[in-house]
Symmetry: C2
Subunit: 143 residues, 2 copies
DNA sequence: CCACCATATCGTCAATTAACGAATTGACAT
DNA sequence: ATGTCAATTCGTTAATTGACGATATGGTGG
């Protein structure tokens, strides 16, 4: 446990997309297809993010039938993972994007993996506009 | 205080060089030329790192005569800075590179800014070999 | 034991980042 | 006022990163 593993964890939580994933996992485990639907980025992109989060010891996975469910790793081998997850739980709970993700995550949980995969890993969303919440670092501060 | 400022702080501590700087500042404030001598990277490189750490609210600066002294920012405006600094204080205290930096920092403090600047911002070091402690992410685990 | 399909991996591209040396800045001290 | 010099900013380069679409993998369920 030294600079190396510290770097892994900090780099993992330095990316807003990965933080968004961690924040929706706070509510409970989720399968990959659901995470893809909520975050609305390419499947390979999400897969890579999950790989990095797991490599950092922040999340763990479990297979159930055709689906792989990810969840926060409560007892990580990485010394730094626990405290970081505990801080995160207290933080960002009023961030607009995190809130929106939570809503979408709730929807994804209701719908369930089967229906989400059938729909091509997307959420219902509004009929007209493409509804994909994105993180824009340079967006004006929340209203 | 949301994803944006969280990102700033986490990105700041995701870089091992910046962590090394924070760890030597734990022992007390230091002027730029001393930090350069301890970390042994280019002057402009260190200056950039200090800029990012300050932008993240992790450190603050103070001018004394010709020298600018940096120190950990105990009461940062960035909500995330305090907890992160507090964690860091507990962490990495047995990392080989951090330990070596501490020795060099002690030396730099003894010598003082004046002498260090005269020496071209370097520490005495062993007579023969170029003695520059570097972080190698892929180095075999510490002996 | 085979086909399917959820997930992982690969290859590519654009954007970001960390390093360097050179040029600039600006406070101090004459 | 002005030269000095510690520190910052600039410009370049190589390495890393995040995104994508296409392809590969391997567990499930027939």
């Amino acid at each position: 446990m030294s600079l190396r593993s510290h770097e892994d964890v900090m780099k993992a939580v330095a990316d807003p997309t990965r933080v968004r994933i961690l924040k929706i996992l706070e509510e409970g485990e989720m399968c990959v297809c659901q995470i893809i639907a909520v975050i609305a980025l390419g499947q390979s992109t999400i897969s890579k993010h999950l790989f990095l989060l797991r490599a950092a010891g922040l999340i763990k996975d479990r297979r159930d039938k055709k689906w792989i469910h990810y969840s926060l790793d409560g007892k990580s081998v990485n010394l730094y993972a626990g405290p970081v997850l505990r801080n995160l739980r207290k933080w960002l709970n009023d961030d607009p994007l995190v809130l929106k993700d939570r809503e979408r995550a709730a929807m994804a949980r209701e719908i369930g993996p089967i229906a989400i995969c059938e729909r091509g890993m997307s959420l219902p969303g509004r009929k007209t506009a493409r509804c994909r919440p994105v993180y824009d670092r340079d967006a004006p501060a929340a209203r």
